[in-house]
Amino acid sequence: MNKFWQNLKSILVKDRRMMMFSIIRGLAAILIALGVGAIFIFLTIYINTDDKSQTFSKGLEALKYMLIGPLFTTKAGVVSFNTMNFYQILAAMIPTIFTGLAVCVMFSANQFNLAGEGVCMTGGFVAALCGIYLSTGTALDPFICIIVAAVVGGVIMLIPAFLKVKIGASEMVTTLMLNYVLMYLILHFLNFNFADRSKGSTQTYAFAESARIPALVEGGSKLNWGFVVALVFVVIIALFMFRTRWGYSIRMIGINQSFSQYSGMKVGSAIVLSQVIGGVLSGIGGGIEVLGRYSTFLWKELPGYGWTGVTIAILAKNNPIFVPFAALFMAYLNKGCMLMSTYCDIPSEMIDIIQAAIFLFFAAEQFLSKYRQKLVVKSAKEELAHIAKGGAENA
């Protein structure tokens, strides 16, 4: 019995070490990325200010806005929690949780489908049209709109999925193209069929009041019930991926397709399924965003949530459970950069630089691999020592 506990302890120690490594590695990537961002911030300020001696203090000011600005405001030396900003950050997470989940499912099956972007926009457009033309005037409206958006999203993803399975066309290429096909189709229909001519800019008529997704908190934060739905979907997708035979097939195909085929799984169906689910989730994300945030459809370019979804899936290592955290991080960073650009004369594109740097270090397999090797060696040595001590049981 004693031995059992010892064994258990050694397992935990080793696994904890590897888990700590993952966490440290992630934090290091983020810190370095922020460091890279800071360099650019200081550079921008140095170039733009005339009084060079101010560079440092202004730079710190900018960093402060970026890092703690999203949640705390300082007025006359008093630091206070900014509830409004907090709600706004949560609201910004809604569409990216969905696109992040979508990318998780598709990337798990090793399908580098990037059409989340275009499908998300289409979902928004379709949901808006339903809200305008199919409104029943009851509380069912949002559900109908979202379901239609989901179905349309899923159907669109059948295109790259079948092209992949039937004729072996790379889904990465077809979906990158598909994004623009979808965007220009939407713009065409928006301009020529559905535009409200009484308005100054190109937008649809306002959708029925009953189709709008109710706010979760009062005020202009745009935080709506979609946030709760998004969290529910996190749980559903996590269960799907880890507790159902379809999720299992999707994950195994992602690890080793030959193995899956040999084991008797339906490889083609699972590839199609993963992308259809990705489409459904992206469609829902777009629909909820449009119905929850606006009163009319007015996107005239790709909204960018699909790309953010890719970043989120990579940060979350394709694990649905981590998606909300990654989405929170991205929303927080986004907010910080917006504040910085508003108050400190720093271009808001800074977020792209920081994002790219995080990407780089997360995706780089060998980043900190020497440190990892050291941990592995340490664990192995402990294990050997442990075996040497209890060697009698093997002999």
Binding site: R245, S249, S260, V376, A380
Partner: protein
């Protein structure tokens, strides 16, 4: 302590000296633990040990393929840092791998000068010069090869000579041969030994990796034995008995003798008739292959690798489609049937390439061991898994098949080779199969696991399963098979009703194509009374 060693070794002419080599792989396996290894100039030195004892790792370190975690390497008395094979070759170390590193579509001469071709005007490859250089080396070292032949067309024995020549042309003075005889017949092995002795006379040093006792005794001067990643000492080959070597290698008395009750074959399970297959390069790989496997028997398929065995197995599991012919399991044709349907017919397979087909390396043991039955009713409750039943089943398999692991959640890639194979075997043998296709079931794994897997195959066959055993290991085929067919050049070259009458030399002759059976004898492999196709001719 280390000082003393240096003083002692100064008296000897050591061409290679490795001190305190420790190698921990990224998956946490300590393949070498403080290993000392040294080779005298001009000797043939055997490096012995079971599969997984760390001998290949040690040699990869010496050839610059792996970096040691700790330890130092001296070549010709100088400290050497070997970050890559190029650095090792520059120091005169050459290696011939177990799996040949040749380009099949190029000629022998092109392969030999690959990466350093003689050129005309510094731009165009001078093919004639390449052929000439190949001839020169081939004659000087008495290693006959055909410089103009394409590598895919030459026999395994010649491929090996090409590999050796490749190393010599690059200036290797120390040759590492990684289990060179694993793929050779007894006759080819004798030829290789002759050539290696010739090289030794010319002053070359050879490190010979093997675990075959008789070969070591015949060929080598000294030997180093490894076990569980540690060196068990250096011995003069003449001064140590085979029993002693065996004891040092394995650490216990192992009898690889197998207790096998007599087979009582029942009705036919697998029926293969006139199977023909031509591969994508228009090479005829299978020609009119016909045989049957009955319940309760193990039919061995012997043959040198590349004589159609892989294609046969692939066709039976629908990874390739034959041009003509049939393969049926209890009346149901396997051709063009999906793998799922094939499995539903009660066919299971232990694949040759376990890392490609057998497992999902990043998946857990549980996910791997249940992959063929995950959508069965008993593991599902509506859309969700019945997790407890899955836990119970995987724990049972881990226990029954003695898979050494920390828990069912451990990643398969963290296991040793033998345990990975046990994961595959646990899945394939626990689904009450009617037909088991075992393709090289014990290649590259430790004795314990080998013994276990072989016993399991016998046990299941005696319980009524039909077993088709494909193996390049002559001893394995002889030990396990009840009946045996030999494949040569894509044809069934011989059929032995009773494999017990054979020995390795006899079998080698058939495998090499020196002998073959007549049509009547081969037709008996079908176990049918009427043989119209034979009587017609």
């Amino acid at each position: 302590m280390e000082h003393k060693e240096t003083v002692e070794s100064a008296n000897e002419d050591l061409v290679v000296r490795m001190v305190g080599i420790t190698k921990v792989y990224p998956n946490g396996i300590a393949a070498n633990q403080k290993v000392d290894f040294s080779v005298r100039r001009g000797e043939i030195h055997a490096l012995m040990g079971e599969n997984g004892s760390g001998k290949s790792t040690l040699m990869k370190v010496l050839f610059g393929l792996e970096q040691p975690t700790e330890g130092e390497i001296y070549i010709n008395g100088e400290k050497a840092v070997l970050p890559s094979p190029t650095a090792a070759i520059a120091k005169g170390v050459g290696m011939v791998h177990q799996h040949f590193m040749l380009v099949p579509s190029l000629t022998v001469a092109e392969n030999i000068v690959l990466g350093m071709p003689p050129t005309k005007a510094g731009v165009f490859i001078d093919y004639k010069a390449a052929v000439k250089r190949t001839r020169e080396f081939s004659e000087r070292y008495n290693l006959p090869v055909d410089p103009m032949a394409k590598v895919m067309d030459i026999p395994v024995g010649m491929k090996q000579k090409v590999e050796i020549l490749k190393a010599l042309v690059r200036g290797a003075k120390i040759l590492i041969l990684d289990e060179p005889t694993a793929v050779l017949t007894t006759q080819e092995t004798a030829e290789l030994f002759h050539e290696l002795k010739h090289l030794k006379e010319q002053g070359y040093t050879i490190v010979f990796i093997s675990h075959k006792l008789n070969e070591i005794k015949e060929l080598t001067d000294r030997l180093t034995i490894m076990r569980d990643g540690k060196s068990m000492g250096v011995y003069d080959t003449a001064a140590i008995s085979e029993e002693e070597i065996s004891r040092l290698m394995v650490g216990r008395e192992v009898s690889l003798e197998l207790e096998k009750p007599k087979a009582e074959p029942g009705k036919t399970v697998l029926k293969v008739r006139k199977l023909c297959y031509t591969n994508e390069w228009d090479k005829r790989m299978l020609e009119d292959v016909s045989f049957s496997v009955r319940e309760g028997e193990i039919l061995g398929v012997a043959g040198i690798e590349g004589n159609g065995q892989r294609e046969l197995v692939d066709i039976l599991f629908n990874f390739r489609k034959p041009q003509s012919g049939t393969a049926e399991v209890e009346g149901v044709s396997l051709i063009r049937l999906s793998q799922r349907k094939i499995r539903e017919q009660g066919v299971s397979m232990i694949p040759e390439d376990r890392m490609t087909y057998g497992i999902a390396d990043k998946g857990s043991i549980e996910e791997n061991v249940l992959s063929d039955r995950i959508s069965k009713k008993r593991f599902n409750w509506g859309p969700l898994f019945r997790v407890k039943r899955m836990y119970a089943e995987s724990d049972r398999l881990i226990k029954d098949f003695k898979i050494k692991c920390k828990s069912r959640k451990q990643q398969v890639m963290m296991l040793s080779g033998g345990n990975i194979q046990k994961v595959v075997v646990a899945r394939e043998l626990s689904c009450s199969p009617r037909l088991i296709i075992a393709d090289q079931p014990t290649r590259g794994i430790d004795v314990g696991a080998t013994e276990f897997i072989r016993n399991k195959l016998v046990e299941l066959s005696r319980a009524g399963a039909a077993v088709l055993l494909v193996s390049a290991d002559i001893n394995e085929v002889l030990m396990l098979s009840d009946s045996l067919i030999v494949m040569n050049g894509g044809k069934v070259a011989a059929y032995f009703e009773d494999a017990g009458i054979l020995n390795d030399v006899m079998l080698g002759e058939y495998m090499l194509g020196l002998k073959h059976h007549d049509k009547e004898t081969i037709a008996k492999a079908c176990h049918e009374e009427a043989m119209p196709e034979v009587s017609n001719e």
